[in-house]
Symmetry: C2
Subunit: 165 residues, 2 copies
């Protein structure tokens, strides 16, 4: 269904036709977008995650899953509410994610002794072993990123975004 026939909606045409502006010649002007920090932060973050996701793909681990596994490994016995709050992951989403990690036998959940509603989270031995190898891959990703940005730039950036308190 072609809806743009030549000669229609001439009102929106520029009054002066651009002379010979062939596609791809003149660079795109980003306009006010250049004043928006959020835009560039997102572009960079997406670019970084592209390599990160590819790096962890062989273990079928997504970035959010990685962060959950790391926090469970470093903070065994914590509840879903605590892990979720620390990572800013909705409890509904975390519940679904943990089902998958439990299905893989990487994570185990036990009823908390002091609160029947809570589940205490632990890595299984298998999960611990897998996470160690995944961490090694993640570290290789970070080395690539550091090399790409330059050590100094990487350090400046992480200092600026890590400790805002």
């Amino acid at each position: 269904m072609r809806r743009t026939k030549p000669g229609k909606s001439a009102r929106s045409q520029p009054l002066i036709a651009a002379p010979v502006k062939v596609s791809g010649n003149a660079p795109i002007d980003y306009g006010v977008l250049r004043t928006h920090l959020g835009y560039f932060l997102r572009r960079l973050q997406v670019e970084i995650f592209k390599d990160f996701i590819k790096t962890l793909a062989k273990f079928h681990v997504r970035p959010a899953q990685f962060s959950v596994l790391v926090l469970i490994g470093t903070n065994p016995g914590r509840s879903q509410a605590e892990i979720g709050k620390a990572l800013n992951i909705e409890r509904a989403r975390l519940a679904k994610m943990l089902h998958e990690l439990e299905r893989r036998r990487w994570v185990s959940r036990c009823s908390a002794v002091n609160d029947g509603r809570s589940h205490s989270l632990y890595l299984t031995p298998s999960g611990t072993e897998k996470l160690d190898r995944i961490k090694a891959l993640a570290a290789s990703h970070e080395r690539r990123l550091t090399a790409r940005l330059g050590k100094e730039r990487w350090q400046k950036l992480i200092d600026l975004v890590r400790d805002f308190g």
Copy 2:
């Protein structure tokens, strides 16, 4: 070595929750996550977008739509391929987005004179007027962000992430 300046410039609030102390328990240890720049970039970007999305909600404009409108406004007559490439938006997704913007009569598409496959993109007068008001809102968001981060930190960050490619 720079000491803390006693100026009135309000210390920026923490954007990323520092290790959260939950119910009298020990704070969460982020472990190796603290070595991953991508993690903190994403946390900060999501936090920033939260305000941005809320700010533009009254016009029912999403961040990606905003970036497309800005680029069409600043670069009238460019094709979907050019706009999409500049913003790193898949052509399939951009096509769907442009259908919506065309439905609102903010954007018009004409067959390119030199290439029958391409569509030249323009803002309609209505779209131009809307975008001006949306830009004003976006600017107010950026002022809030600058105040929140502190002018100096905001400037350092945008200098580091702008033109990373």
